[in-house]
Amino acid sequence: MSPAVTVRDLTKRYSYSRPRKGLAGAFAPERVTIEAVSAVSFEIEAGERVAIIGPNGAGKSTTLKMLCGILEPTAGEAQVLGFVPWRERKALAYRIGVVFGQRSQLWGELPARESFALLRQVYDQPKDAFARRLGELSERFALADIMDQPVHRLSLGQRMRCEITASLLHGPRLLFLDEPTIGLDVTAKAAIRDFIREHARDHGQTVLLTSHDTRDIELVCDRVIVVDEGRIVVDQPTDQLRRSFLARKLVVLQSQAPSLSIEMPGVAARPSAPHTTVLEVDTRTARVDQVIARALALGGIEDITIEDPPMEEVVHEIYAAHRR
C-alpha cells in the first residue's frame, strides 16, 4: 500500500522588500529571503495520526498549507493521496478535510445547518449519503440542539464541533487539523480530541495535526514530527517522545506567603514573582496530586493551576538533546 503522504525535500522561501535607511534607501529597498521550510522529507502511512509540532514560525502551518495545495513550494516534491497538491488542488479537495482552528468555514449569521447544505453542493454529495453522514456526526458530536442556531451565537467549543463536522461531511480520507483546540476550555478540548481519535480509528482516516498543546499530540497522535526553523528535528512515535520530553508539568501556586518551599523528588522550583511559586514536576518521579496535597498542607494557597511547559521549551529541549 502506498503512503498517504510522501514529502521529499520540500522547501518554501518567502521574499519581501525591506526599506533601507535614508531617502535613497526608500527607493531601493533591500530584498530579504526567508526560508520557512527547508528540505523537509517524510512519509505518512494511510491511517496514521501524525502531529507536526514546533514553536511559532517553525514552518508547521507552511508545510500543512503546501500539503493542502494552497501554497506552492519553492523546491521539492510532495504527493498527497496520489495527487501533487498544488497542481491538483481541486481534485484533492474532494478527498481531504481541513480545519484551521483560528478560521471559520461556516457562515456566522446563519445556522450551521445552512452551511452544511451549501457544503453538500460544493462537494457534490448525494443527498442520502450526506444525510446519513450528517446524522452520524450530529449524534457523535451532540449537534442536534445547536445546528439550528446562528453560528455566531455558539460557544467556541460548539463552533469547533460544527467546524470539524463541516470538514468531515464529504467523507475525506485525510484530515488536516491546524491548531484544532486553540482557545478551547479543558472540557471542549477533551471532547474534540476524543472525537478526532475515535473517528480516525473507526474510519481508518489519516490525520495530520499541528498544535501548540502537547496534550493534543499525546492524546490524538501516534507519531510526532518536531520542526524548528523549517527543519525536522525529530520524527518518532509519541510514546517515545512522551517518555523523554512530555513527562513534565508546571504547577503554579498563588499564595499569601511570598514563596513556598516544597522539597520532593522530581519537583524543582522555577524562578518566579513574589507570592507565586512555579514547580516543575517530573511525572515519572512525582505525582501532581501529591505535589498539590503537599502545597495545600502548607496553608495560605489562593490559587492553583497546572500547565504543560510551553511548546517552545519542549522543542528547545528536544533540539538540545538531539544535538548532544
Binding site: 518567502y14 507552511t62 498549507k65 493542502c68 495545495g69 494552497i70 501554497l71 506552492e72 498544488w86 488542488r89 481541486k90 481534485a91 479537495a93 474532494y94 481531504i96 481541513v98 484551521f100 478560521r103 471559520s104 468555514q105 457562515w107 449569521e109 446563519l110 445552512e114 452551511s115 447544505a117 451549501l118 453538500r120 453542493q121 460544493v122 462537494y123 457534490d124 446562528p150
Partner: protein, 275 residues
C-alpha cells in the same frame, strides 16, 4: 456558440452556485432589521430627491422639459436608487476574505470561490431588490403621482436585475484589488463616483452634451443604472433592447475581467501565501 448540454461538472457547479445564491438571500433575510433600515433610508432619499425634481419642474428649467415630463425624473431616480441600494458590499467581502486569510479556506474547496461569492452577493441583492421594490411601489402609491405604463415596470424590472448584476461585478472588480492593495476603499470610491457621473444616478445621462452622453451610454456604469432608469421616463422596446444589449456586453466583459483578476490573484496567493 456551444450547443452541447452541460456536463456533470458544470451542472454541479451551477447547483453549488444556486445554493450560494440561496445562502446569500437567507443571510440578508436573517438581517431583516438592516434590510428594514435600508428601506427606510430609501423612503427618506426619495422624499428629498422628489422634492428637488418637483422644484426643478415648477421652475421650468430651460431645455429640461423638452426631453421628458420633469415629473418622470422622480421615477427615474426611484429606479436608479432602487438598484444602487440593492447592491451588497461585495468588495468588502473580498477584502475581508483575501486580507483576513479566509480565502485559504475557500481555496480548499473544489468549487470556484469567485462564482460562489458572486452568486451569494446576487442572492443578497435579490432579496434587497424585492424589499426595496415593494417599498418604492408603496411610496409611489402613497405619493399620488402618475404611474408609469405596465410595460415600463417590466422593462425596469428586467434591466434593473441585470443592472444590479453589472453593479455586483463592478464592485467585485474593486474588491479583487485586495490581492494587491491593503484596502479596496480607493477602488470602490472610483467605481462609486463613476456610477454617479457616467451611470446617471441622480439625472439621466441623456441630459449630457452629445459626446459625454455617448461615452456614458457605452460605459458599464450606464449598464448598471441608466438603461433601467430611462425606462421610467421613456419606456420603449428599442431602448429596452439597446439597454439589454449593452448589459449583456458588459456582463461578459466584466465577468471576464473578474475571472482574469481572480486567476492572477490566486496565482499570487499560491506563490506568496495569503496576505
Amino acid at each position: 456558440m456551444r450547443s452541447t448540454p452541460p456536463t456533470v461538472a458544470e451542472r454541479a457547479m451551477l447547483a453549488a452556485a444556486v445554493q450560494a445564491f440561496r445562502l446569500g438571500a437567507a443571510q440578508t433575510l436573517t438581517g431583516w432589521p438592516v434590510l428594514a433600515g435600508r428601506c427606510f433610508f430609501y423612503v427618506l432619499l426619495m422624499i428629498v430627491l422628489s422634492g428637488l425634481w418637483d422644484k426643478v419642474a415648477a421652475e421650468q428649467v430651460a431645455g429640461l422639459a423638452r426631453s421628458a415630463p420633469v415629473s418622470a425624473f422622480v421615477l427615474y431616480v426611484g429606479a436608479t436608487e432602487w438598484i444602487t441600494l440593492s447592491l451588497p458590499a461585495v468588495h468588502l467581502k473580498f477584502e475581508d476574505d483575501i486580507r483576513g486569510g479566509a480565502l485559504e479556506t475557500h481555496l480548499l474547496r473544489p468549487k470556484p470561490y469567485l462564482l460562489q461569492a458572486i452568486s451569494q452577493s446576487c442572492g443578497s441583492a435579490f432579496v434587497r431588490m424585492l424589499a426595496l421594490g415593494a417599498t418604492g411601489l408603496t411610496l409611489l402609491a402613497v405619493s399620488g403621482r402618475a404611474w408609469p405604463s405596465p410595460e415600463a415596470f417590466v422593462f425596469i424590472a428586467v434591466l434593473g436585475v441585470f443592472g444590479t448584476v453589472v453593479g455586483v461585478l463592478l464592485y467585485a472588480l474593486a474588491g479583487l484589488g485586495a490581492f494587491w492593495a491593503r484596502r479596496t476603499l480607493p477602488f470602490q470610491l472610483i467605481v462609486q463616483k463613476l456610477m454617479f457621473v457616467l451611470g446617471g444616478l441622480f439625472a439621466p445621462i441623456s441630459l449630457y452634451p452629445p459626446i459625454l452622453r455617448g461615452i456614458g451610454e457605452g460605459s458599464p456604469f450606464a449598464a448598471h443604472l441608466y438603461w433601467a432608469g430611462i425606462q421610467a421616463i421613456r419606456p420603449s422596446v428599442p431602448l429596452f433592447l439597446a439597454g439589454l444589449a449593452w448589459q449583456a456586453l458588459w456582463l461578459v466583459l466584466l465577468a471576464a475581467a473578474c475571472a482574469a483578476l481572480w486567476r492572477a490573484g490566486v496565482r499570487k496567493v499560491l506563490r506568496e501565501g495569503a496576505a
